[in-house]
């Protein structure tokens, strides 16, 4: 009898593995749940970013100035709302229940409470006081801005110029200026979600491999015309196709292919190969279900760091940048959120490719050793 071709053998093992996967309720349900959950959460996240800071004011004698402020005649990005009292303002900033009569007023992040004689004191050149209430989530730069805003207001009321001449400043935005067009929470989460979808399939593959080793069915394969290389190739393909399929479904469902679709596709393929390699390592190293989960998590944590890091653009340290998944995550971010071209994404993809080769090599080596020493 003539031995069958390598392709036929790999295809037979692959077919068997997909059948085994489809009958493993745990992973099928877990994968489907994860996919649906992430898609739903994605669409529930805000699609836009409101860059306006709502500022509440409480005063006694601002008069026309208050009307000008609330009419929107202040700095861009600041919306002013008038509150009837200092206490009502405090409650709004603190997020507490409004006082009677202030139910219709919005919740503000910043509050300016002017002293009762503020206007008179300022115009007479006397010292006065403005209390700035700030919600805990307000970033420091906004707090500083409020300080300057009050100072400007005081000098304006006094009919004087600022005591110092502001130095000439020039702000140069390198790359695309995202002011007024910031990346939404939804877009921020997309790379993280996509990477989670990819990595969860590495657990499924690890489980399949561990089961095959534990039951010694892999030994039965290796006394047929199937070679160790055929088994390894089938496992790598299985893991890649599983992860790739899930990730594609997710990315299509979240309409991710609107930027640089080609680069995104390449990134997802590389990510899927990475997930397969991790699955092979975890599957060969773990002796049972818990063992594979342990080794899977051991890889999951460092690989997920760049994905979490993408939530805070520009925060990645050098250490994070050398992690295997950094290139994949950054390409997903660049291709979907910023529509970056191949020139910008090429080096990141190259790095991901190099890591894929290394991890896949390691996965092959560990699994081959495991199989041959059974």
């Amino acid at each position: 009898m003539k031995p069958p071709s390598r392709t036929a053998i790999v295809a037979a093992i692959l077919r068997k593995d997909f059948r085994a996967y489809s009958r493993d309720r745990l992973w099928v349900i877990l994968s489907a749940l994860m996919l649906v959950l992430l898609i739903v959460v994605f669409w529930l996240l805000p699609a836009t970013v409101d860059e306006t800071v709502e500022v509440g004011i409480a005063h006694r004698d601002l008069g026309e100035l208050a009307e000008q402020l609330t009419a929107g005649n202040v700095e861009e990005g600041i919306s002013v709302v008038e509150f009837p009292s200092d206490e009502a303002l405090q409650r709004s900033v603190a997020g507490e229940a409004p006082l009677p009569g202030a139910e219709d007023l919005p919740q503000v992040q910043v509050g300016l409470s002017f002293a009762p004689d503020f206007r008179q004191a300022v115009t007479e050149g006397r010292e006065s006081r403005v209390t700035i209430y700030v919600s805990s989530g307000v970033p420091p730069e906004i707090r500083n801005t409020m300080g300057s805003f009050v100072r400007e207001l005081a000098f304006s009321l006094a009919g004087e110029e600022l005591p110092v001449t502001e130095p000439q400043q020039e702000e140069i935005i390198l790359g695309e200026d995202r002011a007024g067009n910031q990346v939404s929470p939804r877009e921020h989460m997309r790379p993280l979600f996509a990477f989670m979808v990819l990595l969860v399939e590495s657990f499924a593959l690890a489980s399949l491999i561990a089961e095959e080793i534990q039951a010694r069915t892999i030994t039965a394969l290796l006394v047929t015309p199937a070679r160790t290389a055929d088994v390894l190739a089938a496992k790598a393909l299985m893991g890649t196709l599983l992860a790739l399929g899930q990730a594609l479904v997710f990315l299509l469902a979240v309409r991710a292919f609107q930027g640089n679709a080609g680069a995104l596709l390449v990134a997802i393929v590389l990510g899927a190969v990475m997930a397969a390699a991790v699955g092979m390592i975890a599957g060969a190293a773990g002796k049972d279900f818990m063992g594979t989960i342990f080794y899977g998590v051991l890889f999951f944590i460092p690989l997920a760091i760049p994905a979490f890091g993408s939530l805070f653009p520009g925060s990645a340290s050098t250490l994070v940048q050398v992690l295997p998944s950094y290139g994949v995550v950054e390409t997903i971010v660049g291709a979907t959120a910023y529509d970056e071209g191949w020139g910008a994404l090429g080096p990141k993809l190259g790095m991901a490719l190099a890591w894929d080769a290394a991890l896949l090599g390691l996965g092959f080596f560990i699994l081959k050793r495991k199989v041959e020493t059974l």
Binding site: M1, K2, P3, P4, A8, I9, A12, I13, R15, K16, R19, A20, R23, D24, A215, R216, T217, T219, A220, L221, L222, V223, T224, P225, A226, R227
Partner: protein, 294 residues
């Protein structure tokens, strides 16, 4: 010892092993063994746990590469022509390494694909091992005996010319064990060479054309069960007679010049039973190696 293989035997043998050695690090598991198995012959491979039986099978089925010596299956070198060899052998492992979440039928079809038989019909084989009505059920619902019968069916998927059967009836119910023994006989009758490892001396005696005693990686004896018994057993009979209402037993050695006379004398009395007292294979093994088979 009949272990040595002549040149003519080697050319005709389905399995031909010459001075085969394998070691796990410093531990020599197989130490220069030589034997051959002809087509249609069943060779019983007997020895206690750790004697080197499984390692020998692993080398012969291409799972391990020998440190030295040669192993040829159907004239082909196992190490060099592994794919060709493995296409023509069937291996039944001691552990029931089946895909539990697949049906019996799916298990057989999958292995048939690995042998390049995409249109394989598993039903005749399932019928042969008595699983025709359970072929569509997942293996996880099978009993131990059913799993073992499916293991044997899987071994036969590619109509192998050489069978390696590792403890195929171990711990099975009598019906399943008989089914498997019948299949071994049928395969041998078809012309397949069978290398059978077993702890069951009765089974080895019943099925094997020859048996090899393996101990500490070496073959201690290799011959037909009959010859071994003649060579190492005692030629004697136990005669039980009733004399004046009392039962008496007498052991008569057949090598005794007066054996005929003594038997006639016993027959003249109230003869109850005569039993031959030949040694069992286990007794011979213990005598040769100084250790038991379990």
């Amino acid at each position: 010892m009949a272990a040595a293989t002549s040149a003519s035997e080697r050319t005709q043998a389905a399995i031909s092993v010459e001075d085969l050695t394998y070691a796990y690090g410093d531990l020599v598991a197989v130490d220069g063994i030589s034997f051959s198995v002809a087509p249609g012959e069943v060779l019983g491979f007997l020895g206690p746990n750790g004697a080197g039986k499984s390692t020998t099978i692993k080398v012969l089925t291409g799972q391990l590469s020998p440190r030295s010596g040669s192993a040829r299956i159907l004239g082909q070198d196992v190490g060099r022509d592994r794919p060709e060899v493995q296409a023509r052998i069937g291996v039944c492992f001691e552990e029931k390494n089946l895909y539990l979440n697949m049906s019996g039928r799916e298990n057989l079809r999958f292995f048939a694909r690995l042998f390049g038989m995409p249109r394989f019909d598993p039903d005749p084989l399932l019928l042969r091992v008595g699983l025709a009505d359970r072929g569509g059920d997942r293996v996880q619902g099978y009993s131990k005996g059913m799993r073992q019968r499916l293991m044997v069916a899987r071994t036969l998927v590619n109509h192998p010319d050489v069978l390696f059967l590792d403890e195929p009836t171990d711990g099975l119910d009598p019906v399943s064990a008989r089914t498997i023994r019948d299949i071994i006989r049928e395969e041998a009758a078809r012309g397949a060479a069978v290398l059978l490892t077993t702890h069951d001396m009765w089974e080895a005696d019943e099925l094997s054309d020859r048996v090899a005693f393996i101990n500490e990686g070496r073959i201690a004896a290799l011959d037909t069960p009959e010859n071994l018994k003649l060579q190492y057993g005692e030629r004697r009979v136990k005669v039980r007679t009733r004399v004046q209402g009392e039962i008496q037993e007498e052991l008569i050695s057949l090598d005794d010049p007066e054996a005929g006379e003594r038997l006639r004398a016993a027959a003249a009395k109230d003869l109850l039973t005569i039993h031959t007292e030949e040694a069992t294979l286990e007794q011979i093994f213990i005598r040769l190696t100084g250790r038991g088979l379990q």
